[in-house]
Subunit: 357 residues, 2 copies
């Protein structure tokens, strides 16, 4: 494999010194880019892009041609694992993802299996190796998965949900059944992420989009516990290079300390927590990724710069910060504003990284 | 006015000793009750119920006939104020509330006025006095309003929203315009709540449903600051009785300490924060209301009891706890489960309130 030309993201995730703060954007390959919309229209739909390694590669690289980003992230969906389990993923216009075969009963849970990543998920593994080759060492490639709890919410509800009625009914009435489902999912995520790492992913991230809807006790028992298993089960080194692992629980700002206890390398932080407070909570055990409200990108480049400065100053001096949005970039953002954001992070962060001595 | 026969709610909100922990449920008058659904079907729609004082009274009393609740809450909507400002409130099936005339420009904001509660909001004031009379002192009547920030989100977006793009664009690009809107709203809420108090509301609550989507800085500047104005502006005593004021910011668990600084009497807490931690944060400056996940009501009465016990123990000994759900009761809950919940609170909390001495 080629040497990494820009390793700011990896270094920051491992809390090593950098020349300036690395930056990438969740959903940076997406609908706010006209070239993405064109390719998607041509392909027909989202999964036609995601399941074709060449198209997934092209879409992954699109934002890197426009912006000075410090990482690429695999273009895929968090629901590939349940789809490979036979749940029948599809997308309903205006409502988001849905499954033909939701998981509701003990029989449903017992029928589940750990998908072989080189069988039904081969398109993901192939996309990773295609992208890694195309990147040619310019920036690292981040692989990812949904967290077991987050995957389970979609699998039990049968799609997106507002009240989480079915999954919480299972949680309160049949906790053992839910644990059995989460166990299968944790094992599946480990195998899946390790296949991504072997195919060339240089870092991995676990998206726990819905951990924040739980009580603190239930978060520990039904979400964090399984992310901890994943942290323990994924390859932390491959071909002599460390593979940083990032956990991100949306609305999980109150739990950063116990998340850091999992042994992961970095934590994603949304904008409802100040990075200064987040950093104090984790006391330099992990790096922090975040945390600009994606809606700031609707405002002027000047206003974007001032918000970037505020967030950089909130994190403060030294390594261990990966700049990002606190959630995916919105589809109606002007790409020029995304460029102003990325450039501002690099320019304004240099004074925070002057080497000691 | 008649003497209050059950004053547990008022006493707990003022952190005075009680015999057992008072309990009520957000949205206790609502679609989970068949008698509510029948009346609503007859009336035609939600606003036909809310704008008719006799029907609003009947609906308010329905849950009190079934359950041993310690408070009634005015049956109304949080969007009555913008509707009275001429925005044209209506409800779109499956999408929730919407306005015909959203507020987007400086001209739109300047055209707004503080609605006279005895004119376009007379139906609310009349409902309060009708309900108060019908309650005959059995339990106190809680009046309420949306917070200025929460009302502004609906007014600017034109209805419910997921990304808050338009209101946040205004916040970041035209903060002065948003402050002007919030000023008018804060004044409107003060006048509105004082009219409810004069008509018979014995406590008031401010629902800040969407404060939790802001950064900590913006929460202080655009939501909390205006709730503080309201706390300072509402009557805290009427006809010799104290009127407790409760603030509730959904997903605001991290900000309970600064919320307590407003001088309010009580804070609503959702289930993502343990009451033990919440109590430590506010160090007995205010009472706490909450915080069972409404989804627990899907589980068995036994499981509901055990969750009630856990939450009672988390708050611990002594006064200052009003039991509630951390959000409105879901419409598909079995009313018998709501009964099990209310009864469990009273029964299991008695040992926590043994008088000293």
């Amino acid at each position: 494999m080629t040497v990494l030309k820009n390793d700011r993201y990896i270094r920051a995730a491992l809390r090593q010194p950098v020349d300036c703060t690395p930056v990438w954007m969740m959903r940076q390959a997406g609908r706010y880019l006209p070239e993405y919309r064109a390719l998607r229209a041509e392909a027909g739909n989202f999964m036609a892009l995601a399941t074709n390694p060449e198209l997934a590669c092209e879409v992954t690289l699109q934002p890197l041609r426009r912006f000075d980003l410090d990482a690429a992230i695999l273009f895929s969906d968090i629901l590939t694992i349940p789809d490979a389990m036979g749940l029948g993923l599809h997308f309903v216009a205006g409502e988001g993802p849905a499954f033909h075969n939701p998981v509701r009963t003990a029989q449903d849970v017992n029928n589940l299996f750990v998908p072989d990543p080189h069988d039904k998920l081969k398109y993901v593994v192939d996309a990773v190796s295609t992208i890694r080759k195309a990147l040619n060492g310019d920036v690292p490639l981040i692989g990812f998965s949904g967290s077991p709890w987050t995957l389970a919410t979609y699998m039990v509800e049968g799609g997106a949900t507002k009240n989480f009625s079915l999954i919480k009914s299972m949680l309160y009435a049949e906790p053992h059944l839910l644990h059995s489902l989460l166990d299968t999912l944790a094992e599946s995520v480990i195998v899946y992420l390790n296949a991504q790492i072997e195919a060339g992913a240089q870092a991995v991230m676990i998206f726990d989009t819905w951990g924040g809807v739980l009580t603190p006790r239930d978060y520990k028992e039904f979400s964090l516990r399984y992310m901890e298993k994943i942290v323990a089960g994924v390859k932390r080194e491959h071909e002599g290079e460390k593979i940083p692992v990032t956990l991100f629980t949306k609305n999980g700002g109150a739990w950063l300390d116990i998340m850091a206890d999992t042994g992961c390398d970095a934590l994603g932080v949304d904008w409802t927590t100040d990075l200064k407070d987040a950093r104090a909570k984790v006391s330099n055990r992990v790096a922090l990724q975040g945390n600009m409200d994606p809606s700031v990108l609707y405002s002027s480049p000047d206003r974007i710069r001032s918000e970037v400065k505020t967030i950089l100053d909130s994190y403060g001096l030294g390594a261990g910060h990966i700049f990002n949005l606190g959630h995916g970039i919105h589809q109606t953002v002007d790409p020029e504003h995304a460029k102003a954001f990325v450039d501002a992070v690099h320019e304004l962060s240099r004074p925070l990284h002057i080497p000691a001595g």
